[in-house]
């Protein structure tokens, strides 16, 4: 294989087809915003929370779909409303009753998901449901790209502003409560960012991909970096690499391989490799024990 062949394989599809370039741009935007949120979710042991949230936004998106058909603004708005409502309601119940956050969130997202499935079944076929679950990476229009770019910008700016109280809230919430009232609002703002990213990824890329790019790169990064200043960039990098790989594989594959799942599978493959060879607590480093130090 010559260098030209390699260029053809790696760059050709993006040069040749506009829809591939759009898909790449959308995925790279999501790769900048979702993985840092995933890092915080993972460190707070809330990884599965994003999965729950992705279900919670379904009824809102379905309501938007019922009202306006496959319309990006309607479904996005519906998803945002439903997701934020579930996040806020769960937070409220956590603060004012005995329930812990995971339990109250589980209750609300199940209610929300059942409502969503109910709404989808009122109108629409299996095809529509598949569309919602797996998205349409290869059919991103200008509106969707603008949405993803806007969400990425918003997320990065907001994370920079919230960073310090968010870290303190993760490490020592009681301390933050004694020195500041920022804890509650910061936590809500963080959940809102998660919802916004899921909703953004949802219409454009599908729920599976939205959650996949949020969590898998973050979890993968844990095997490569020790602290936040390493985890966040590594997670972004893994997410971008997965996006490019997934797009190329789905383009070149002989069989019809849906792009969304291809990207998530690429991220999954990177996770599996990292789990084995990663220098921070990966399998090999655990098994091959180097001699301990003197002090």
């Amino acid at each position: 294989m010559t260098l030209a062949d390699l260029t053809d394989i790696l760059v050709g599809p993006f040069v040749e087809f506009g829809f591939m370039r759009r898909a790449l741009a959308g995925c790279l935007a999501l790769s900048l915003s979702a993985p840092p949120l995933g890092v915080f979710l993972m460190l707070r042991r809330m990884s599965l929370m994003s999965e729950a949230m992705s279900h919670a936004i379904l009824p809102g998106a379905a309501a938007g779909f019922l009202v306006a058909g496959l319309s990006l603004p309607a479904m996005t708005l519906g998803g945002l409303v439903a997701g934020l409502a579930v996040a806020l309601a769960a937070g409220l119940v956590t603060r004012s009753t005995v329930l812990k956050e995971d339990a109250s969130l589980a209750a609300f997202y199940l209610i929300s998901l059942a409502g969503g499935v109910f709404l989808v079944s009122l109108r629409g076929s299996q095809v529509d449901l598949l569309h919602i679950l797996f998205g349409t990476v290869l059919a991103l229009d200008d509106d969707a790209l603008t949405l993803l770019g806007g969400i990425a910008s918003l997320t990065l700016v907001a994370l920079a502003l919230l960073y310090r109280p968010l870290v303190i809230e993760c490490v020592d919430p009681l301390f933050l409560r004694t020195v500041s009232r920022a804890g509650g609002p910061v936590h809500s703002a963080f959940l809102a960012l998660v919802v916004v990213n899921l909703v953004g990824g949802f219409q454009a890329l599908g729920t599976l991909l939205a959650v996949g790019l949020m969590l898998l790169p973050a979890i993968t990064a844990r095997f490569w970096a020790a602290d936040l200043s390493g985890l966040i960039p590594v997670a972004m990098l893994v997410s971008m690499l997965s996006s490019v790989t997934g797009l190329l594989v789905s383009y070149h594959a002989g069989i019809r391989l849906p792009t969304g799942p291809a990207i998530v599978l690429a991220a999954g493959a990177l996770y599996l490799v990292s789990m084995v060879v990663g220098p921070r607590g990966g399998l090999i480093h655990r098994l091959v024990r180097r001699r301990h130090l003197e002090a």
Binding site: L43, R44, L161, L162, Y163, R164, P165, V167, I168, C170, V171, D172, P173, L174, F175, L176, R177, T178, V179, S180, A182, A226, D227, L228, L231
Partner: protein, 295 residues
Amino acid sequence: MSGAVSGGTAGAGAIRFRSLTLGYDRHPAVHHLDGIIAAGDLLAVVGPNGAGKSTLLKGIVGEIRPLDGTVEAGPRSGAVAYLPQAAEIDRSFPLSVLDLVAMGLWRPLGAWRSLTRQRARLIEALAAVGLTGFEDRPIGTLSGGQFQRALFARLILQDARIILLDEPFTGIDERTTGDLLALIRGWHREGRTVVAALHDLSQVRAHFPSTLVLARRPIAWGPTREVLTPSVLARALRLSEAWDEAAAICRHETHHEAHPTDGAGADGTHDHGHGDDHHDHHGHGHAHAHHGAVS
């Protein structure tokens, strides 16, 4: 600092209780506590398990809301630094010791001001607790004693008028305890108010000029050598046990304003034991039994 604080509000550094009742599920854990912890006092709170020591500290810092009565801690609650018994700190979070200690600067720096110029202060605080050279270590790698030292460094940086310590030496070795006690004595010399819940009575006798013996209600409060007598301690043990599911509603009237100068005297010039006298007529083994006696 005596006398002047007996008026309307507690002065800077003083903590005033007015018929303070704290508890869980309407069951009081601290029952009708009156008095003032004078500014600059170094007070030990002792009592058996379940006597309400931790609850009292949580009440002062505002972590739990009073069931009845009030607590005033200085002009602003922000003047209080609090070291909880079992810190809710997530020690698996990838954070450096320096970053943990830097949280103590939240009040001057808030969420956005730069930390880089404060590095010297942070190193100095770490040196004061004997953790020089530990600044870049992840918090998860510290031993229990080292971690407690780091939390004390954070307390130093909080620079609070009032410092609350909930069993700070549980599970800490002798040398570390000695070092930290020296820090506490330093705070006392600087005129800060220090309140510590403690179990080790010889420690209390050696280092704490005043003591509050608590068994849900105050058993005795005053100069340590006068308060820590066998009979007082035996009563404390007897009175702290009962949790009565069917306890009647407390009809204790709040008529404590009759002692306007109570507790104002500092350093053992007068006896704080009014709560003791006040409850004597019904203090026989059942702290809830007095509803008939008063009404």
